[in-house]
Amino acid sequence: MNNEQLQKTPLYNSHLALKAKMVSFGGWDMPVQYEGILAEYDQTRTSVAIFDISHMGEFIIEGDAIDSGLDRLVTMDIVSMPIQSCRYGAMLNNQGGVLDDLIVFRLEEKKWFLVVNAATTVKDGEHLQKHLTSQAKFIDVSAQTGKIDVQGPRSRDVLNGLVEGISRLDYFTFDFFDLLGENVLISRTGYTGELGYEIYYSWDKIETVWDELLKNDLVKPAGLGARDLLRLEVGYSLYGHELSEQRTPLETGLNRFVNFDKDFIGKEVLAQQQTEGVPYKIIGLTSESRRAPRLEQLIYNEAGEHIGEITSGGFSPYLQKGIGLGLVKASVTQKGDQIFFGNDKAKNLAEVTEKIFYKNGSLKN
């Protein structure tokens, strides 16, 4: 895809003014870094960083959870969700493969807000409309909805000065708040492992929010580079890396976001895997050195046999070592095993670890 075809967020000019390095991501021209990825990582872990996430897709669905067909479209239970809560899960195809991961917000008894990945927004919209019943009303609000993530241990302090009542939000809940003249949805969610909020705001006016946040000395902008490192350290999956249409949520470690007490598209395959065992699984791995695993490098067992491949990798500033996530044959490795990452010519020693590398975050403070 060449640059002319890339979509631009409403904050595109702000990024250029801040001298961001821009990259193509999911069909969008996005800031990968401003000051530098490690500086922006530190900013998020110690103070507050703001991220332009306007590229992500948002849908509103009106209708009863069951009668609309929405409950059948997602792996998590939505019937039991309290109003003003959010829940993470996945949408599957008939083979049980992950079409996308998403967050469902319950706006009202019979009104839902869905947040999906940027690159999959069109596909997701088509899939939803195909399977929602005639009793559902589907609205794609992606083009009107801008989004800023405010993330870091001081994010509550920063928003307290701008949003009355923000302190009442618990983890994975949301509400509507007055912010610079608009009544908008703010959720206590994020992708960094730190205390954080996500602000949904009018596409046309979100620049005023961005500028206002940057007036606070505790706040700096951060790009997708830092965002990827932050999410990798807490082991969050990324669509197109850990998650894909070829793998089920059980193979990719999303078990706790699948509810087998309800019906959903793809359930038969998952039920079979639950009985017979999964062929693949996602592991965490920690390099013995600062050398980091890289996407698509191979994973080998102690005997040097090829058992899988790296799905995400990078240098962990927290551990001062390379870390990664990898998809491997399920039967051959367990936590504590020595493995290697690399290629047939050069292999680097690592240990199979938990998928969470950074546990001291302010997420639930």
Partner: protein, 129 residues
């Protein structure tokens, strides 16, 4: 983009400074900036024989992994082991504290294959076009 006048440069953005037959090698500002935060470097060992334009080290940043090529042929006589724990010295000071290795030059004639600071500046200008 900072360029040191009396250094020589390669198309892969390594620099070399020559003193008493010893070549000190590092990466230029352009490469440092392109790589972003450097997180790991695999240094050569003292005594290693290196060939001109062959790999002498490998480097990783938050964005990518890449190879560093020796601007000259020779024998490695010293490496900057400070970089083992502080590879970010290359970002902070690519022409001084971030030097990578020193080699005893085996063939002075090879220096003619390298660019002067002025030639390298023109080379960078062409890249920016």
């Amino acid at each position: 983009m900072e360029i040191i006048e009396h250094y020589l440069y390669t198309k892969e953005h390594e620099w070399v400074s020559i003193e008493d037959g010893i070549a000190t090698v590092g990466i230029a500002e352009y490469a440092q900036d392109l790589l972003g935060d450097i997180t790991f470097i695999e240094l050569p060992s003292e005594g290693d024989e290196v060939e001109q334009f062959e790999q002498v080290a490998s480097i990783e940043s938050v964005k990518a992994a890449s190879d560093i090529f020796s601007p000259i042929s020779g024998t490695v006589v010293e490496v900057n082991s400070d970089l083992d724990d502080k590879p970010e010295l290359i970002n902070k000071s690519c022409y001084e504290k971030g030097w990578i290795a020193k080699s005893k030059i085996s063939d002075e004639d090879e220096l003619s294959n390298l660019m002067t600071a002025d030639e390298y500046k023109n080379f960078l200008d062409e890249l920016e076009k």
